[in-house]
Subunit: 156 residues, 2 copies
Amino acid sequence: MENEILFRQAEAKDLDKIVKMLADDPLGKTRENYRHPLPKQYIKAFEAIQSDPNNELMVATLEGDIIGVLQITFTPYITHQGGWRATIEGVRTDESVRGKGIGTKMITWAIERAKSRNCHLVQLTTDKSRTDALRFYENLGFKATHEGLKLKLNRR
Amino acid sequence: MENEILFRQAEAKDLDKIVKMLADDPLGKTRENYRHPLPKQYIKAFEAIQSDPNNELMVATLEGDIIGVLQITFTPYITHQGGWRATIEGVRTDESVRGKGIGTKMITWAIERAKSRNCHLVQLTTDKSRTDALRFYENLGFKATHEGLKLKLNRR
């Protein structure tokens, strides 16, 4: 029997593994704070996502273990004749399964999810230092037509 | 008495002027559909934005006339230690006031709004063909650290 990758909404019990995966990354390790107990702000963010019908935190599982995570935000815009967009963020796979096509399955799943929510566009930004990620998304049909601009604010 | 630019949430009566501004743009004119009566999908998108506490469609006014529009989306993420982000989209000023610093006032206002919502980051994407826009945002402190990737979906 083939091992199947399943997708589902993240639950509170998954949060530890999600943060662990986010922190296990060249950029993530500089900005996440994975420790026990998990810092409260992760739990608050998880609750905010769960209570928002336009945000979905999804996990990929293999034999019950979490092997990937991504977040999709659905946004209604006036532009493009009142079109909804899906924005993908925080895509990470477990190091044990990297290079096995799990990322492709996850993004393909997210694209289908965006279609089911009647979006006309799927968008994401990727740090210019992640050259592998850029190639990965271009292979999936994404076009790097835009500059992704960020302005950091001082936290209060 | 100096004429003051005021910011407020858009109301249903503003939608005609908003769509008119969005359509009056090199890229906007290829994808918007400004006519009377206004196509229903604009009204549906406006209602979806209004009913979502994490989306705000803002207008700038001068002596009661609408001279600018932008949309801000506030999104809770697990990444960056559970940080909220503000995403700016659909920024347009009326042709009659272009080149008078209205855009700078609008984005400065949006940044303050993001701070008041406890965001750690303000982000946006701009089409690579909009070289003036890129310079404009960089002058305001934004860094073009990311590629902005888009995948168009077929509308159902």
